[in-house]
Point group: D2
Chain length 256, copies 4
C-alpha cells in the first residue's frame, strides 16, 4: 500500500513541529505524600520533520504512547521521548502532559480534610542537546486588595486569583514544591472544606496579608530566584477582580 508520507514534499521546507494534540489518556504521576496518583492527561506529542519528507507518520505517536507504561517518572519520560524519536526517525521529540493533580489538605483550625486540585503540566524535550523537563503548576489562591484595605476602613475587596509557574531545573523537583511556592505568594491559600472557625481564620489571615498581583508575582519570583535547582522560570498571576469584570495580571520571566 502506498506510503505517501515518504513522498518528496511539494514545498521543500523543514517543519519545526508536527504531531498530534488533544489526545486524552489515563496517567500515573509521582505523588510526594502517596507515592503515586491516578489522573487523566491531555497529551501533545510531536517531532521535527526534514524538508525532504512530505509527511510524518501520525499513528506512530499513538503507538509510542500505547507501548509506554503510562506511569510518568523521570526515567520513563525520557524513555518515551527516546521511543518517539526512534519510531519517527526524528532529531527533536517533545511530549507535553497536562493534568489535574490532587493534594489532600486539612482545614487550618478544624483539620477537616479536603482534596485540592491543581492544573499541572510536564513538558519533555529530547534532542542532540539532551533531555530537559519543564514543570508547570496553576494554583488557585485568594488575594486581598492592599489599596482597598488602606482606604476603606476595615473592609477590602478580595477575590480568587491563580498563580501560574513554569520552570526548568537541575536534578529533581516535586510538583508539590512549586504548588507550595505559588500558594505562599498570595494573601491566602484556598481550601475545599472550611468550617466556620476555619473561615474566620482564613479571612482574618488573608486580611493580614494584602497583596496586589504585583506582590504575588514578585513573591513567587523571589522564591524561585532563591531556589538552588531552578535554572529558568516564568511566574504569572491573574486576579479575577471582584469589583471589575476584567482581570489584573502580572508576569516575570527569568533565566538564572
Amino acid at each position: 500500500m502506498k506510503d505517501i508520507q515518504n513522498d518528496p514534499a511539494a514545498v521543500s521546507l523543514p517543519i519545526d513541529r508536527v504531531g498530534i494534540k488533544n489526545l486524552r489518556l489515563p496517567l500515573l504521576v509521582r505523588d510526594k505524600a502517596e507515592g503515586v496518583q491516578h489522573t487523566v492527561a491531555d497529551v501533545e506529542i510531536g517531532v521535527d520533520l526534514p524538508a525532504r519528507f512530505k509527511g510524518t507518520h501520525m499513528s506512530r505517536f499513538v503507538e509510542a504512547l500505547e507501548s509506554w507504561s503510562g506511569d510518568l517518572s523521570y526515567a520513563s519520560f525520557r524513555e518515551l521521548l527516546s521511543e518517539v524519536r526512534g519510531r519517527l526517525k526524528a532529531k527533536d521529540a517533545h511530549v507535553t502532559f497536562r493534568f489535574p493533580y490532587f493534594i489532600k489538605r486539612k482545614a487550618p483550625v478544624s483539620a477537616s480534610p479536603g482534596v485540592m486540585d491543581y492544573q499541572c503540566s510536564v513538558e519533555g524535550r529530547l534532542d542532540d542537546a539532551g533531555f530537559r523537563i519543564t514543570l508547570g503548576v496553576e494554583a488557585p489562591v485568594m488575594t486581598v486588595c492592599p489599596c482597598s484595605l488602606a482606604i476603606s476602613g476595615k473592609s477590602a475587596h478580595s477575590q480568587r486569583a491563580v498563580v501560574s509557574l513554569r520552570c526548568r531545573f537541575k536534578g529533581f523537583l516535586w510538583l508539590e514544591e512549586l504548588i507550595d511556592i505559588a500558594e505562599s505568594s498570595a494573601s491566602s491559600k484556598v481550601y475545599a472544606v472550611l468550617k466556620r472557625r476555619d473561615e474566620k481564620y482564613v479571612t482574618e489571615d488573608a486580611f493580614e496579608n494584602p497583596a496586589f498581583v504585583e506582590d504575588v508575582v514578585r513573591a513567587a519570583a523571589s522564591a524561585l530566584n532563591a531556589h538552588p535547582l531552578v535554572t529558568w522560570y516564568k511566574a504569572s498571576a491573574e486576579s479575577f477582580e471582584s469589583i471589575h469584570n476584567h482581570s489584573a495580571f502580572a508576569a516575570i520571566e527569568r533565566a538564572k
Copy 2:
C-alpha cells in the same frame, strides 16, 4: 441534481429540532440609551422535521439570515422566524442570538465613564401557538459573604459572581431592565473604571450589603415576581468563591 434531503427517511421518526449552530454574525440590537448598538452574535437556528423527510435543507437557514436585515427588533425578529418557517416548510421555527451587550456607566463618586459588558441572549420561537421571545442576561456582580462578615471581625471575603436571568414576558422588555434587576440583587455592581475614591465607596457599600448566593437569587426572583410583564423566569447565581476553588450556586424557576 439529486435532492437527497427529500428522500424518505430510513428511520421514520419525527425530529424535534434540526438546524445549524455556532454561526457568527454582526448584529444590531436595540439600545435603551443610544437607540441601537453594534455587536457580534453567535446564532443557533432550527426547525422541526416530519418523519417522512430524510433531511432538512441546511443552506436555507443561512440564506434566511442573509436576506434578513441583521437589525434585531421585535418586528424584524418575528419576520425572520416567519421566513425560516416558510423557507424550510416547517411548523416550528426557533432562532437564538447570543451576544455581548455594552452599557456605559459612570463610576459612583468620580463619575469616570467606563463600558460594561453583559453576555445576553434573545431566543425566538414561532409555531401554531404564536411567537414568543425569551430574553436572557448574565451580569457580573460582587458578593460579600455574610457569614464571614459576622464572624471575622470587620473583615469578610468577597468575590466576583454572575447573576443569570432568563424570562418570558408580555409586551416589551429592555435588556437594561433585566440587567438592572440582576445587578441590584447582589452586594454591589462591578465597574470598568474605579478611581481610588470610587473603590473606597464600592468596597464600603458592598460590605453594607453582604449576600449569599441564596440572598442574591431570592432578591432577583422577588423583583421578577413583582414585575407586571414577566410571565416565567429562571434566576440563578454563581459565586466564584475567593476562599475555595469551586463555585457556590443557587437557582429559582417559576411560571407566574
Copy 3:
C-alpha cells in the same frame, strides 16, 4: 460562633437548588471490561432550601463527598445522596459527576490497540419520589455527507461529529451500551490508532454508510426506543461540517 445561615431569610422564597459546582475529584467508575477504572470528575451537588432559612451549609456538601468512598456504584451513589439529604436536612438532593471515560479498542484490520475517551455523566436525584439516575455519554464519530456523495462523483465531504445521549432507565445500564448505540448511529466510529490498512477500511466503510445528522439522531433514537430498560432519553448529534465554519445539529427527546 454565629450560624447566620440559620437566620430567617430576608426574602422568604423557597430555592429550587442550592449547592456547589466546579469541584474536581478523583473518581472510581464501574468498567464493563476491567471491573473498575480511575478517572477525574467535575462535581455539582445541591439541595432544595425552604423559604424560612437564610442559607444552606455549603461546607457539608464537601464533607459528604470527603466521607464517601469515591467509588461510584449504584449502591454507593444512593448512599451519597442519602448522606447529602441527611447532612443538609433537605427533601431533595442531587449530585452530578462529569468525567472522561476510557475504553480500549482495537483497530479494525491491524488490531492495533488504542484508548478512546468519552465525556460521560452520571446524575443522581433523591427525593420523596425515590432515587433516579440519568446517564449521559458523548461519543465522537465520523459522518460522510449523503448529499455530497450523491452529487460529487465518488467524492464526499466527511467530518468529525459528536453524538450525545442522556437517558433514564429501569434496572442497570452500562455506559458501554450507550456509547455503542451512539457510535453505531453514524457513518463510522473513530479510533485512537489506525495503520494504513485500517485507514483504508474505515474510510471505505464510512463511505458505504453516509449519514446526515438527521440520520444519526434517528438511528440513535430508534435504538433507544427499542431498548427494554430505557424509559426516557434525549438524543442529539452535532456535526462540525468540513465545508462550513458552523455546525449542523439535530435532537430528539422522548419519554416512553
Copy 4:
C-alpha cells in the same frame, strides 16, 4: 487618600508585564472592502514596572481606552500605546485586541452571498526601540487526507482544520491578505452558504487538492517567505481529524 501603589515594593524586583485582561469593548477595524467594520474585542493591555514601585495604577489602563476613539488604525493604535506609556509612566507598553472579523463571500458557483468569520488579533508594542505591530488570523479551512485518497479507492476522509498565522512586517498589511494566504494553503476554503451545485464544486475541488497539515503549513510558510513585507511569522495548522478524536498539527516559525 493614600496612594499605596507608590509605596516601595516589599520585594524589589522589576516586573516584565503588569496590566489588565479579559476586558471586552466594541471596536472599529479597517475593512479592505467596506472601509471600516464594527466588531467586539477582547483586550489585554500592560506595561513594565520598575523594581521600586509597589504597584501600577490599573484604572489608568481603562481610562486610556475610554479616552481613545475605539477606531483602530495604524496611527490611532500608536497613539493609544503612547497614551498608555504616558499615563502609566512606563518604558514599555503593549496592547492586544482579539476580535472576530467578518468578510462577505460568494459561493463559488451560485454566487449566493454569505458572511465568513475569522478570529483575528492585532498586538502593538511601544518601547525605546519604537512601535511594532503583530497581526494574527485564524482561518477555518477544509483538508482532504492525501494518504486516505491514495489508498481508499476514490474515497478519502476530510475534516475542518484551522490555519493560524501571526506575523510582523514592514509598511502596511491587510488582515485580508493573511486570511487569503491561510485559506489558499489548504484543500479548500469553507463557506457560510453552499447550494447543491456549490457543494459539488467545493467537494470535487477539495479532492483535487489533498493536503496533510504538513502540506498546509508549508504552503502558508512558502507564501509568507515570498511576501516582500513580512519580516517574521509563525504559521501553524490544526486538523480536527474525522477518523480520530484528536488533532493533527504542524508549525513553522521564521525570522526573515
